[in-house]
């Protein structure tokens, strides 16, 4: 039982961080379906630093890895953000396309420049000890990334609900036309910055996974965290604080599904059908309530 709880928390960590990334974007009216690709960008950066930079100081690693991973995620998000801003291209499709490109890029890297020294397996070398996150418990790969992610959720909530730029973001997301007409909000700029921040957060999730759980880069590192993140964020109704329990719920669901597959042979992919049902239930109930209120 304890194992399952720890496994749930480990699984919840990337979901919490990517869930925040999605919540931030959706609140600003950005349909970032690309958390998956931005996650990979952060993971690649962490693996590159961890295997190739020869860092020796844990402090340097602690500062450098998250900053670089966030930058990588933001850069990956900058492509669809730029296409949206400059050419008016809908980000839904471009972010999804970049997810596939990121997956194949990881495939290339682990067969090429970042492949392990033996050139046998399609994965990177294990990352250096100094860039690994300290475990909180002996038996599981639960690290400081989890409480840090909870802190990030609190900070995101404070920013969105209690600051002036957060208000601008909410206004731009809720009604871009009204926000632009008010003359006080540069909607295009708010959308651009929110998009990059969302990508940066998703990039952090990739680094947390490599530095805390897998210690190496390989193909299919993410079992679709960036997509589940959408369910996580919507279930939390895009409230960063509510993303914490939502991520725990989905983390437990996925850890439970993995355990069920081992013990009872129930295919764990079925969990995605459950997640889809949760999304449809949430938006369906929300709409039903709005429609009955309108009457």
């Amino acid at each position: 039982m304890m194992d399952l709880i720890l496994a749930s928390l480990v699984r919840a960590t990337p979901l919490l961080i990517t869930g925040l990334a999605v919540a931030v974007a959706f609140r600003a009216g950005i349909w970032n379906i690309g958390a998956e690709g931005q996650f990979y960008a952060g993971a690649v950066m962490a693996a590159w630093i961890g295997t190739r930079w020869g860092l020796t100081s844990p402090f340097a690693a602690l500062l450098l890895v998250p900053a670089a991973a966030a930058l990588a995620g933001a850069l990956w998000a900058a492509v669809p953000a730029l296409l949206r801003r400059r050419y008016g291209v809908l980000e839904v499709i471009t972010t999804i396309m970049l997810n596939f490109i990121a997956e194949h890029l990881v495939g290339f890297l682990v067969h090429g420049p970042l492949q392990e020294a033996g050139h046998t397996y399609p994965q990177s070398d294990p990352i250096a000890e100094v860039v690994r996150l300290t475990p909180l418990a002996d038996s599981a790969r639960l690290t400081w990334a989890f409480p840090a992610a909870v802190l990030l959720a609190v900070l995101a909530w404070v920013f969105i609900e209690r600051t002036r730029p957060g208000l601008a973001m909410r206004a731009a997301g809720a009604n871009p036309v009204a926000a632009a007409v008010s003359g006080r909000i540069d909607v295009g700029r708010v959308a651009w910055v929110s998009f990059l921040v969302s990508g940066a957060i998703a990039g952090l999730a990739g680094a947390a996974e490599v530095c805390g759980v897998t210690f190496a880069l390989y193909e299919r590192l993410s079992p679709g965290y960036g997509y589940t993140a959408i369910a996580v964020a919507l279930f939390a109704r895009l409230n960063p604080l509510a993303v914490i329990p939502s991520a725990l719920f989905f983390g437990a669901l996925e850890a439970g599904a993995a355990a069920l597959q081992r013990s009872a042979g129930v295919p764990s992919v079925a969990v995605y059908a459950v997640e889809a049902a949760v999304i449809l239930l949430v938006v369906g109930l929300q709409r039903a309530r709005q429609l009955s209120d309108a009457r």
């Binding site: 008016g88 499709i93 679709g224 992919v269 079925a270 059908a273 889809a276 449809l280």
Partner: protein, 308 residues
């Protein structure tokens, strides 16, 4: 000269592969064109395609006929679209959110059903497949003969559907109603049209086409089903709709461009180029990005697209 003969053969094979690869993309994109012209963007067609792929495999094996599989694929795609329409059109929930959920759900459901029915490791299915149909005479035309006249039935369906759908949208009364629902739903409603009915039908048609596209992947190309085998083709189809500027004839050409971009992989192998294969796998997605960047700002989307 032997070298020329080799180049011609490579070119002919490249064109044949381009059209073959374009077929499922084009079928799905033509369906999505109709859906989007009614004002609905259904990114759940990726899931509809996947559902169609699995249903076609199951039905073709159970009934021993590829044609039965093809029909089942279309129906499964339609069913996925019906679920989308219930939430996105009926309840007017956000189309992007619902479409994402449909795709996620189809990934989970098809994966679970496939593993339950055919085993976790995925023992290779032996399915009845759709064989290429050779049009006598025309198929012998040098270079383009095989590409145009030695293809499977779904490809000929793609050739016929593009002008037929163009004619429907541009020249018929229901086509006019469809455009009205997509451009000015309030006015259409005021003129006595039932916008939600039009949009539901257009969404179902898009799902049917996506389902048949999934069936094409299984029955006319791969000969088997694999989890997540659509690999984003439904999303690429949506990019093709933009590139084709919501015009079925433009979509037809755009689908062929994407087919060619993917077929480059085989041509490059035949020519002995040594580029890591992952870059060829990226090609259709990268082309989608470039195409959207090039066309996105200037193309005129249906006015009410995505608005519930």
């Amino acid at each position: 000269m032997p070298a020329d003969v080799g180049a011609v053969a490579v070119l002919a094979a490249f064109l044949e592969a381009s059209v073959r690869i374009a077929t499922p993309l084009g079928l799905a994109a033509l369906g999505e064109t109709v859906t989007e012209r009614s004002g609905v963007i259904n990114i759940g067609i990726e899931g509809a395609m996947l559902a169609g792929a699995l249903a076609s495999a199951v039905a073709a094996q159970a009934l021993g006929a590829a044609s039965a599989g093809f029909v089942a694929g279309g129906l499964a795609g339609g069913a996925a679209a019906a679920l989308f329409a219930f939430f996105a059109v009926g309840l007017r929930a956000d189309q992007i959110v619902v479409g994402t959920a449909i795709t996620l759900g189809a990934t989970g459901a098809t994966g679970a059903i496939y593993r339950a029915a055919f085993g976790a490791t995925g023992a290779a299915l032996s399915l009845p497949t759709i064989a290429p149909l050779r049009i006598p005479g025309a198929a012998s035309i040098p270079v383009i003969g095989a590409a145009l006249f030695h293809q499977t039935a779904p490809t000929y369906l793609f050739f016929i559907a593009a002008p037929a759908i163009w004619w429907f949208i541009a020249r018929t009364r229901p086509g006019l109603a469809l455009r009205a629902a997509g451009e000015a739903p309030a006015a259409a409603e005021a003129a006595g049209l039932r916008v939600s009915v039009i949009r539901t039908r257009a969404t179902l048609f898009g799902g049917l086409m996506a389902g048949m596209a999934g069936a094409t992947l299984v029955l006319a190309q791969a000969g088997t089903f694999a989890e997540r085998m659509t690999a984003g083709r439904g999303f690429i189809a949506i990019a093709i709709v933009v590139l084709g500027r919501w015009n079925p004839l433009g979509v037809f050409v755009a689908a062929l461009v994407f087919g060619a971009a993917s077929a480059l992989q085989y041509a490059a192998q035949a020519l002995g180029l040594t580029v890591p294969y992952q870059f060829f796998l990226m090609m259709p997605y990268a082309v989608s990005l470039l195409a959207l960047a090039g066309v996105g700002g200037r193309a005129h989307a249906p006015e009410a697209l995505g608005k519930p």
